[in-house]
């Protein structure tokens, strides 16, 4: 390995939002041919740093050096022209355009100034094959699940990266096989001398792929370390500013489930064009995990149970009664709640405050007439901000100004507030830092113990195993098998997903 050259350097960068010092005197060094992990808990300022670095946000002060020269990117387009390509947190693609257009926007192959659509589609097809995605590139992006969109965003970033590739939580909604695929691609790029910034909350991934780590906390830099020199416990301490309490691995939930009566029974439900003949049972106080690959239909099961998609066949029984669901409100009335996967479009109500986002579901169930007094709203918000450690100055901040992970916590709080009989969590820990992650897993367990039933989708099999009493494996929108008890290990689930 030759001596690596410094590609990008940030010195004493500050960024202030009204009311928040998001970044305070942060330094960052990025060398050619390295994977540099940028770590920190939710709201630490990682995404902000990326945005400042790539011209998406104007910095308040500080200097940026690119290839040794001081520079200033006025817009992401300018950064892209200089050779920095970025995949921002929250898929920032255009749902209305086709996959191919998304991949090549601004770089379309042209002849005589006119775009060659056919050629573009072929190139897009090839690019995606690198990520083992064989999809119709002429279809609008909106047709694909978040995970696929995430892969497409990464493919776009990779295709355009000349010198620097920045990935902000690219693996949040990916399964382990896709993550490995991504890592293969990253290694290739590293080989070619590309510098990669990688943000994640999965520490295994950090140790798998990164060479160097920069840790942020509360908007300031804690330190820069070589990955090889930094044990996991020290890393966690650097991030959180305290030690993480070890999770006690207990199998309490399973025991409860054994004798409990069934709460939710799906009998061969089908949804036109998406699900066929799925049956499963969730008992009172039981947590059931849904596992499967991308597009295996996990999200669609959740949507069907929640009344978003209307059944074309089969029956849903809930608490012994047959449910006919036309819209989510029906499900909520029956005692079902869903924490959706697509936070930005289906979860948060951006301009409304944290308080309102938390109380809305409760209010919707009470009806418009019985308004929850503001005092109670504030108590409710304060309670959950404290309990879920949501980093915010006050409960009246618009939720869209929170960091991604903190938004996810608010959505969770919204559903906890209505205390449903069955809570469906579609990727509840997506983008959540490890401190909060541990807390959420604990929370789920305690919810089960209090008698709430859960249906949880997660790409992290370990997480599922940690709290689920039973795991249902889906493939191609059909149920493959059910695992419980001693059979229920990450290993076995993987096997079931792969073979069926």
């Amino acid at each position: 390995m030759t001596t690596p050259s410094l590609v990008l350097e940030l010195k004493q960068v500050c960024k202030h939002f009204p009311g928040v010092k998001a970044l305070q005197n942060v330094d960052l060094r990025l060398f050619a041919g390295e994977v540099h992990a940028l770590l920190g808990e939710n709201g630490a300022g990682k995404s902000t740093l990326i945005k400042v670095m790539t011209g998406a946000l104007a910095k308040s002060s500080g200097d940026i050096y690119f290839n040794g020269q001081q520079c200033h990117f006025a817009s992401p387009a300018a950064a892209q022209r200089a050779g920095i390509s970025t995949v921002y947190q929250e898929v920032n693609l255009l749902p209305n355009l086709s996959v191919a257009q998304n991949l090549f926007l601004g770089h379309e192959p042209r002849r005589f100034g006119l775009i060659q659509h056919k050629k573009m589609q072929q190139q897009a097809q090839q690019l995606l094959l690198r990520f083992k995605l064989n999809i119709d590139v002429t279809a609008p992006l909106a047709q694909y699940s978040v995970a696929v969109q995430q892969l497409i965003a990464i493919a776009r970033g990779v295709a355009m990266s000349a010198k620097v590739l920045v990935l902000d939580e690219p693996t949040a909604s990916l399964d382990s096989s896709e993550v490995q695929m991504l890592f293969d691609v990253m290694r290739q790029l590293r080989e070619q001398g590309v510098a990669i910034v990688f943000i994640t909350h999965f520490l295994e991934q950090v140790y798998q792929i990164s060479d160097r780590i920069t840790v942020l906390r509360n908007g300031s830099k804690v330190g820069e370390y070589l990955t090889a020199d930094l044990p996991r416990s020290q890393l966690i301490e650097a991030m959180l500013g305290k030690e993480l309490q070890q999770l006690t691995q207990q199998q309490a939930a399973t025991a409860v489930a054994k004798q409990a009566e069934p709460l939710l029974v799906l009998q061969q439900i089908s949804v036109k064009g998406s699900l066929s003949d799925i049956s499963l049972t969730v008992a009172k106080g039981q947590a059931v995990g849904l596992a499967g690959l991308l597009g295996s239909g996990r999200t669609e099961v959740c949507r069907a149970v929640y009344g978003v998609d209307v059944l074309s066949g089969g029956e849903i029984q809930f608490g012994g009664k047959t449910l006919t669901l036309q819209q989510p409100a029906d499900a909520i009335k029956a005692g079902i709640a869903l924490c959706p996967e697509e936070r930005k479009t289906e979860g948060i109500i951006g301009p409304l405050s944290i308080r309102e986002n938390i109380m809305l579901a409760l209010q919707a169930r009470r009806g418009w007439w019985r308004y929850l007094p503001v005092k109670q709203q504030q108590q409710l918000a304060a309670f959950y901000i404290d309990k879920l450690q949501i980093a915010t100055p006050d409960a009246d901040k618009p939720i869209e100004q929170l960091s991604g992970g903190n938004q996810q916590k608010v959505i969770l709080a919204r559903w906890l507030a209505i205390n449903p009989q069955l809570l469906i969590l579609d990727e509840p820990t997506r983008g959540i830092d490890i401190g909060a992650h541990a807390e959420i897993v604990l929370l789920i367990k305690s919810l089960c113990q209090q008698g709430m039933s859960l249906l949880v989708t997660s790409s992290e099999l370990e997480e599922l195993v940690a709290f689920a009493g039973k795991v249902v494996v889906l493939r191609d929108r059909q149920k493959v098998t059910e695992l419980s008890g001693d059979n229920m290990t990450a290993q076995h689930i993987m096997q079931a997903i792969a073979e069926g």
Binding site: P76, L94, L97, L105, L114, K272
Partner: protein
């Protein structure tokens, strides 16, 4: 399999033919080339304006100023030709760039100062119409040999049809705008901004220059429409084109473009304008409706049409989806 994306277009076209067929069956002389060619020449200005409107709406904006810009460009044309004795072509050469500037200024207000397009262009509408009335309250007749030549220019179709200069200008502009929207990077950027301008910004789309160009282009097309309007009426009048922005918007939306931006086709807009034209022609041929029944019937026909379009595309979309999953 026919792509689902084009489905609304086909349905619109089919309904257009249906209405035309009904008219032809009901009235003598309705199903003739004369009526078809009139459809284009009588609506040439609206078609041109609607092209620009399509662009703006696909980008997620709206342009309420176009009707007033038509009036302003007409009055300016009239003044320059009749009062200052300019040659029409020199007059056009001044007016079109001026319109571009006007549109660009609105674009700047929208992008740089983050003002809402609806309101900026509403102010633009007041401004353009105010300028037009300030220039001349009275309608200005245009009398110039160039205009006579324009009126004679064209070729006849069998059955009394006539393809005139206005129709040809529209056809040329149509091809240009289709190229621009569907085959150029600029067009891709317009769709991108309409999809989500923040994401587009993050993906490296030059949002500022594109937004400004979009509004400039819309104003240019409106000014051209104003010029074509003077070919049509041989005059410039400050009250011309009142409410035409609403006609254009309606045509664009009927043509399947979403007002939220990001999706739509230029050709759909053309179908939309033609549909409204056929409805007008139908009512004229009928000739028995009083003023108020005219309004009510136009409303009802448009309503029936929009609902039919909705129902048909939903039903066909459902059956094709079901069909494809059954096969796949």
């Amino acid at each position: 399999m026919m792509s689902l994306r084009y489905l609304p277009l086909w349905i619109t076209a089919a309904l257009l033919c249906l209405l035309f067929g009904i008219g032809g069956w009901q009235f003598d002389g309705f199903a003739s080339l004369a009526v078809v060619s009139n459809l284009f020449s009588d609506n040439a200005f609206l078609l041109i304006v609607a092209l620009g409107m399509t662009l703006v709406i696909i980008s997620g904006g709206i342009d309420l100023s176009v009707g007033a810009v038509i009036a302003l460009s007409g009055v300016a044309t009239g003044l320059l030709i009749s009062q200052y004795q300019w040659h029409p072509l020199t007059a056009f050469a001044l007016i079109v760039p001026a319109a571009a500037l006007f549109g660009a200024l609105m674009g700047v207000l929208i992008h740089v100062y983050k003002l809402q397009p609806f309101i900026v262009t509403l102010a633009g509408m007041f401004l353009a119409r105010g300028l037009a009335t300030t220039l001349s309250e009275e309608s200005i007749a245009i009398d110039h040999s160039f205009y006579d030549a324009i009126a004679e220019f064209g070729f006849a179709l069998p059955g009394g049809g006539w393809v005139g200069a206005s129709t040809m200008i529209f056809m040329v502009l149509l091809v240009l705008v289709i190229m621009l929207m569907h085959y150029s990077r600029f067009g891709a950027c317009v769709y991108a901004i309409g999809g989500n301008s923040q994401s587009a910004q993050l993906m490296g789309v030059p949002v500022a220059s594109t937004t400004i160009a979009i509004y400039a282009l819309s104003s240019v097309l409106a000014a051209l429409a104003g010029i074509v309007f003077t070919f049509y009426t041989f005059s410039g009048y400050a009250l011309a084109g009142v409410g035409m922005e609403l006609d254009a918007i309606a045509a664009v939306v009927i043509g399947g473009t979403l007002l939220t931006g990001g999706s739509g086709f230029v050709i759909g807009t053309v179908l939309g304008v033609l549909l409204m034209g056929v409805i007008q022609t139908y009512i004229i041929f009928d000739g028995s409706l009083s003023s108020w029944w005219t309004k009510i019937v136009i409303g009802l026909l448009l309503f029936g049409f929009i609902v039919l379009q909705k129902v048909l595309s939903r039903r066909t979309a459902l059956t094709t989806v079901a069909g494809s999953t059954a096969h796949g």
